[in-house]
Symmetry: C2
Subunit: 355 residues, 2 copies
């Protein structure tokens, strides 16, 4: 039996997690696995009901589970809340509390989606890389972070902080991953300006010595933002700081034409992992049965593979998604002129049929 | 008489500034202006000759001039130098010392370059926006920035710091610019995570009240990185923090197919302004007469318009560049299969002929 904590969150989070749970159940039926789903509150809904974006019982539930499936958090309703009662705080807290230091965001080219990408086909054809984003440190978590008076003037500060060991951990993770792939690590930093990046680069060099079969390349973050659009095929594993990874992975989603296609896994050293689509709660289309459930379904596939070791099952889900796209089925975000647009639930059914 | 300080810097910096000086001279001849050029050292060459990336006399020269034209700094030779004797430090110092708080990076679509962009023509056709990057604060300059021991462990820190007045100054600048353009400001931040971004957003709202004819929109930086690729036509003026602006403007250069096309101006409150291409020193092609001089020539055009008020002259340079591109002339970076590739000096001659 596999215990899965499901945190639907806000907006389309509910619709897409429902779809993914559906798919996991189909996999369970076919392979004789029992997935047990328990639901928890997070984000805006948790604020409304419990007064906090990450209630104690949600965290407890997650820690007791074998894996966590998360939808998305946030919405205009809570945008003007004070920092500690904002939906996003729940997400940041769960990452920190569960020690989810490694966020893996695979970027895969789908032949059949080439038309919905803003990039030219020859640029993206065959692109296949993974962004490894450090998730529990960097500019997101450093202290101090807040307002202050500086020489009589109002001012504000955020802090990019890393222990050397944190940098080493994430870079080692990236090298281990690259060893199973195309054996190339692109370490992205801003070493010509930031001290933290200079340590990052130094650590990358050291770690590289332990992986003689993996090629290490350094790239400045501004250049990386350009290269992702210019020639994404050059990448295998990209490893970078939290804030840089946030920016670069959203940008990279444009290879597939939609944020609605990109899954992610957030891993800890030895606790349960968390799986979530990289898209947000999309308040504008929430509750309309329009959202693309594929990123969350692909996140569930990552769960099968990485948390449960169910490789065949994961492959089947990923192949089903590909098959459905090849057959021309599209949700609105990836549809082009003339396509027949499916609803969220219809898309989920199509994937289920393909399993 | 206009006094121009020229700081060629390293790598292709020398070749491209030479080209731009040439064009300015042509403009001077045609319109009867006298441009007086004085040369200063900066970056790697300054380190080699003077032991510091920004010698005192260079700074003095710049402050005594009406405007500064800079090439580019940096190269592998100095990459392992300690932080304070790195070429980039010279650039950061001159920005700080001359109080160049507003970096303006216009992104223009050239019909004739559509083929060399990795983006599909319908995505970029007609795109025309300006990135206003805060240049003397933010993550680049905050203190502390350095290594430390934290609870017995090696650690490192960088700081994103702003005084409220600094944020207000750059946002006001962006609104003033938008008023003369399409009357829309997109303020880019990460207000769902960073305290500095929350103040940024607050200040943007306040400044907006003084510009009722300009529309203000907030966009998260991860989303902005995506939208720049997905639908760049939506933008008019983008205003953002130093580090964010660095990343987004390099990314945006892909609209024109090459970093070699994008000029920039860095303005202070009342001192001389600095003009530089946004590309780097490109050590791999330095000294080979291959570099694209157009970004620097377009930077010189910005100088004519913004520092000297020579609008007609600036228009003529910009039109000449467009004309040369329309005629099919290309340097290697923007050439596609079958194009006849020009050298740096040949390209400069073509622009000169068109003036
Ligand atoms: C919602 C937000 C706090 C989050 C982040 O910035 O990490 C999101 O953008 C993501 O990438 O998962
Ligand atoms: C060379 C480097 C310090 C510089 C920066 O990061 O500002 C460059 O990338 C730029 O954008 O002008």
């Amino acid at each position: 039996m596999y215990r899965i904590a499901v945190l639907p969150g806000d907006g389309i989070g509910k619709e897409v997690t429902k779809g993914a749970v559906n798919i996991l159940q189909a996999i369970g039926d076919r392979f004789g696995h029992t997935f047990h789903f328990s639901y928890g509150l997070i984000g805006g809904e948790a604020i409304d009901r419990e007064g906090t974006p990450l209630p104690e019982q949600t965290l407890h539930l997650c820690k007791q589970s074998d894996a966590v499936l998360l939808g998305a958090v946030g919405g205009p309703k809570w945008d003007n809340n004070p920092p500690h009662v904002r939906p996003e705080k729940g997400l940041l807290q769960i990452r920190k509390e569960m020690n989810l230091f490694a966020n893996i965001r695979p970027v895969t080219f789908y032949e059949s989606l080439a038309a919905s990408s803003p990039l030219k086909p020859h640029v993206i054809e065959g692109a296949d890389f993974v962004i490894v984003r450090e998730l529990t440190g960097g500019l997101y978590f450093g202290k101090p972070s807040g307002r202050r008076i500086e020489k009589g003037e109002e001012a504000v500060v955020d802090t990019l902080f890393y222990k050397r060991a944190e940098i080493e951990r994430i870079i080692t993770f990236a090298f281990t991953l690259a060893q199973k792939r195309k054996k190339k690590v692109t370490s992205v930093d801003k070493a010509n300006v930031l001290e933290s990046s200079r340590m990052w680069r130094e650590v990358a060099e050291q770690v590289a010595k332990r992986f003689p079969d993996v090629q290490l390349e350094h790239m400045l973050v501004d250049n990386a933002a350009m290269q992702l659009v210019r020639s994404p095929k050059q990448f295998d594993v990209i490893v970078t700081e939290n804030m840089f990874g946030d920016i670069l992975s959203d940008e990279a989603s444009m290879l597939t034409g939609s944020l609605g296609m990109l899954p992610s896994a957030s891993l800890s050293v030895d606790g349960p992992a968390l799986y979530e689509p990289i898209h947000g709660s999309a308040p504008d289309i929430a509750g309309q049965n329009k959202a693309n459930p594929l990123a969350t379904i692909l996140s569930a596939a990552m769960m099968l593979r990485l948390s449960f070791g169910l490789t065949e099952e994961a492959d089947i889900v990923e192949r089903a998604v590909k098959q459905v796209l090849d057959a021309g089925y599209r949700t609105a975000d990836i549809a082009k002129h003339g396509d027949c647009v499916l609803s969220t639930t219809e898309m989920v059914e199509k994937v289920k049929d393909a399993i």
